[in-house]
Amino acid sequence: MIKRFLVLLLVLSMGVMFSQLLVGYSPDRQLNATAHYYATQTASETGAANIVSAIIVTYRGLDTLGEVTVLFLAAAIVGMVLSAKQGGQSPTSASEAERQLPPYPPVGELLATGTQLLVPLILMFGAYVIVNGHLTPGGGFQGGAILASGMLLLLLSDPLRTIGHRLISVVESFSGLAFVLLGILGLLLAGGFLDNKILPLGTFGSLFSAGAIPVIYIFIGLKVGAEFSSMLLNLAKTEER
């Protein structure tokens, strides 16, 4: 009880700090210099309509590279954590507990058929979101997540299906590598690391525009999708143990 009270006290103190932040906050009337620059220059510099995408892929591309890396790391570590090499064998108590679990109920007909129908659609939608990232809301991350959910469905419908883990891994690594290489290309051919002007900017607002942004987004999408999928696959494999 004392601990709860203490925590409450601490949380309330944090609340006081936050309230000070809130009190000190006043919404901007005008865009600040940075935002103003983005608002006015994005179109001409990157050719992307979706400023957020432009920022993510180009201006703050380094962040995004890090972000992608976070997912890569997470996937790799999830793999490491779950691989049996570490920490020895599980103690009997836990595995017994697992053995006592009832086997998974058979997947319903509906789900199975639904999956077969839905997965292509989902994948298509994902691809769309990715490719149009520089024009409309969405992009590599969202699209990647959608791709992964397709994979998820596949897994759910048939838990025992072995999906090419190797393929996912290759996609994951290749797209990551491609991202880095594109960045370096920017360094070599254009104004700096991850500069999108290595490709022509094209017509503003069209699909094939905004320089390398769509290309990068495609790789990001692939990579994010692959990461999620690999995480899910790794988790799914645990069941078989």
């Binding site: 957020v52 507990a97 679990l101 969405g138 992009g139 969202q142 997540a145 995480m231 988790l235 645990t238």
Partner: protein, 91 residues
């Protein structure tokens, strides 16, 4: 005038959403008995947040939050929960 109504409408919606989120958050924290409910509530918070993002003029964020925050995360939770089922009650 039109703008005024729209603003107020948005304000009301935001408030409502916020309220709902807080309730859901409390559920996520306070649902003493059921872990799945807590997870669902957390997912709900995320989902409501994504709606709010939309209202706040951030469609990109909204999409991401919906797909990742409420979708994948919740799924991951349940996935793990399935693996460790019974663990919670044992202690």
């Amino acid at each position: 005038m039109d703008l005024f109504i729209r603003d107020n409408l948005m304000l009301a919606m935001l408030l409502l959403l916020s309220l709902a989120m807080l309730v859901a958050a409390f559920m996520a924290i306070y649902s003493k008995r059921s872990l799945p409910i807590a997870m669902l509530a957390a997912g709900l918070v995320s989902l409501l947040a994504s709606v709010q993002f939309l209202l706040l003029g951030a469609p990109d964020v909204a999409m991401t939050e919906a797909a990742i925050g409420s979708g994948l995360t919740t799924f991951l939770f349940f996935f793990i929960l399935g693996r460790v089922r019974g663990g919670a009650n044992r202690d």
